[in-house]
Assembly symmetry: C2
Homo-oligomer: 101 residues x 2
């Protein structure tokens, strides 16, 4: 720590690097999310239970509320969650197909 007077302490290259790291973290977190939802789907199907995202609309509404608190546009959050749910459903179809063979 050399100088902590104000926000300008973080210089332009450092901010660009931080944004790059955040983008990488977003991808890692999305990857983790899909591995979790695949695992959940496999467990539910193995127990003869319903697909995991029958409550997708509730989940999207919940994340929309979280978005506001986090300073993210609710429209962007809803758009992301719709894309995530669509991907989860594709993965689920693949998992179901692989289990039925």
């Amino acid at each position: 720590m050399t100088n902590e007077d104000d926000d300008d302490d973080m210089d332009i290259p450092a901010l660009r690097a931080e944004i790059n790291e955040i983008d990488q973290q977003l991808m890692l977190l999305l990857g983790l999310r899909f591995r979790c939802s695949d695992q959940l789907a496999e467990m539910l199907l193995a127990h003869g239970m319903e697909a995991p995202d029958d409550n997708a609309e509730d989940r999207i509404a919940h994340v929309e509320a979280l978005a506001e608190d986090a300073g993210v546009s609710p429209a962007l959050a809803v758009q992301l969650m719709h894309a995530v749910v669509s991907e989860v459903n594709s993965n689920l179809a693949r998992i179901k197909a692989s289990q039925s063979h």
Copy 2:
């Protein structure tokens, strides 16, 4: 640590809770990203430099490559990044308007 035999150690409610936490982390990370890009925009404009996302296509291509490594569909990554860049550009327009008054 009580039992680490296999993946079934993590039960269904715990997996659902983890997915909820990941969704919350995604929102927090997106919020942080927009605060960083707003700060970058303010710094660049204060220095009379160009808007930060003139290199948006390069950034999107880079994240698309990261997505594959993270196990995320590149199409989903590109869709998210286009939405993020669009939001950054809206924020930038707001910041420019506020600085010009």
